[in-house]
Symmetry: C2
Subunit: 381 residues, 2 copies
């Protein structure tokens, strides 16, 4: 817990929830008759509503992107390094909106919220949502907030995919799309990791085909395994070496199956603490949204063709040691954009932190991100 | 099943088992009072016993390295591509010995065999064995077979680690050490993958702390997950892309959690079939042997110092797309050897198959491996 909140933090923040009662038709063909979105906003919307930016979150994060919920919070929001006064997404200049996605477990309608038809939690009956569905639901939130056009839509990882989809689906509603540590679609290896995570959850006897709430349990083991595995893909081999090396927790080998190496201890801790703050059905949904994301599928795999409608300017950022979505994957997006003569800036940031680098205050990254956002702010005037 | 056995196969083979009743003191401090080793041999031992080569197996393989057990066998041994008449390990010239390691589940003493003290299966009471323990048990097998000195000790992956350990522990008992797709020790990331696999097995409610035999069950789910995860690390991103791409099994997205992408189908199949042929306690032991392997630990991490005693000549081979034990890891071995003025040949083979490449008939690999083994055979005369 911060004794005092740091000067460069947005400070104490409070989420808000909006209810939407117009049915939302989803890509899977089903509809959500009504739904809630929980979101946080930071900074002030200007008079002509031109300074709003949308933050899209990744697999396991949520609407709490910056600041603290109380003086007792041990940690700030997940993108505190990039959002706040004087930071790249400068809350003195921008009105920042960050919703929890549909299907989430932090307050937006999802598997853990009641199905209005039955009064019971949706659980596995919650429809599989796509990046396109999220973008449509976020557009309705924009309508509600009186935001006709975002100054920028910004996201890392799965969030970057939403920023890309926004540019395709609502070309007139954003000036800039900022896509960080993302890919235009998952590789077979990416899907394979997701599948192992899903199998870990779904084969847990406490999963009960997704109806574990009714059995008053949660698939702890499966969700823990999924998170441990995820963590390996978020870190680089090098960052793991720097962080843990082959260090032994007790200085010597014990010839047993308890924790021996520091990296084992770290992974088990990460796995365990995740179970207390995340829902297994939501995890399943998020991995499916990732697997399905493939905007080029409309056009026989031709991403440049899929990007024809876009009008936004783009910033694409990748990190050298990211092996989940390697720089080559970002360059695919850049190439498709340049093939279509779309304005795009691309930066490949030298970083040893792997995929997680997009969350870190890496000087080169913060500097170039800040410089780009400064131009976005200057355009607003 | 082969209608006829291919001409370049060693053909029908039969394993043998030898019993050892002198206790073996293990690195963990415990001893095995007696034990069996099952092994296969191919080719003929020459008059002066100088043409014997030892094949060391990797994590999930065994003594059945080449040939067929019966005309009904669907598949030959695991290294059929490299062992046989006219192949790199030419059975017309070499007497090839391949044992199943201690702790294994294919006939050598391990968790699934009875503990002579109790009459019940060892299960989790089987001691954790190390690469050094295996090498000592293999040296006893050499004694039994009348092999004073191996023409070569050869292995891929965990097998390559045994070939390295042999050169350190019994410098006078081998002329050549051939280390393929290996590493001088695991990285933190390698250990992390092993730890997720172990947690998958150990958290399976059917594991019963390793005493699942007594409960008449096996931790199927956990072992399946461990194997699925292993498979991802054996293949390269590129080989997965070539093999599966993002192809959908039914040609379209179904918005459900059944198998959709071909890669999911492949992984589930690999996981399921593994459960029928492998033991979970053995899997745990093998991952620990990998984690503990670190010959340089004797010398403050100085591998060149650890390699001081070696007298063998070395061939080290790596594969460009292997990310489990990348070429850089092989080069660490090569550097330590050259620092100590040990004779070493090194080849980095261009291959898209990832770690599994060491099992494949890749022309460049087969050619250089064969050329090296030809020199080994010529030395024998």
């Amino acid at each position: 817990m911060p004794d005092t909140i740091p000067e460069d933090s947005i400070g104490l923040v409070t989420p808000q929830t909006s209810h939407f009662d117009t049915p939302l038709i989803l890509d899977c063909g089903r509809e959500l008759p009504e739904y809630d979105l929980i979101y946080e906003t930071y900074g002030k919307l200007n008079a002509d509503h031109s300074n709003a930016v949308l933050i899209c979150h990744a697999l396991s994060s949520d609407h709490h992107a910056a600041g603290y919920h109380s003086m007792e919070d041990r940690k700030p929001g997940w993108w505190e390094s990039c959002i706040g006064p004087g930071k790249p997404i400068d809350t003195n200049r921008f009105f920042v909106v960050c919703p929890n996605n549909l299907g989430g477990c932090k307050g937006s309608t999802g598997p853990t919220t009641p199905n209005p038809k039955t009064g019971k939690r949706y659980g596995p009956d919650f429809p599989i949502v796509t990046v396109g569905d999220w973008v449509r639901s976020q557009a309705r939130l924009a309508d509600l907030l009186g935001i006709e056009r975002w100054a920028a839509v910004i996201g890392g990882s799965l969030g970057g995919m939403q920023a890309l989809q926004w540019a395709i689906d609502f070309p007139e509603r954003l000036s800039h799309s900022i896509i960080i540590a993302a890919a235009p679609k998952l590789s077979a290896q990416n899907i394979a990791f997701n599948e192992v995570a899903r199998q870990a959850i779904m084969s847990d006897p406490d999963f009960h085909e997704g109806r574990y709430y009714e059995h008053d349990t949660v698939p702890r083991r499966g969700l823990m395994l999924a998170r441990m595995l995820g963590h390996i893909t978020y870190l680089s081999d090098e960052s793991m070496r720097k962080k843990f090396g082959r260090e032994l927790r007790e200085g010597k080998i014990n010839f047993g199956f308890d924790v021996e190496f520091q990296v084992e201890s770290y992974l088990r801790y990460q796995g365990r603490s995740f179970v207390d703050r995340f829902d297994a059905n939501t995890y399943l949904l998020m991995t499916k949204a990732l697997d399905y994301f493939d905007p080029a599928s409309c056009c026989n795999g031709d991403l440049a063709a899929a990007l024809k409608p876009v009008q936004a300017h783009f910033l694409v950022v990748s990190f050298t040691s990211d092996w989940r979505f390697a720089p080559a994957r970002s360059r695919e997006i850049v190439k498709a954009l340049t093939d279509g003569d779309n304005p795009v800036a691309y930066a490949e940031v030298e970083a040893h932190q792997g995929h997680d680098a997009f969350l870190m205050p890496i000087p080169q990254y913060i500097k170039l991100f800040g410089a780009y956002m400064n131009r976005v702010a200057e355009e607003i005037g």
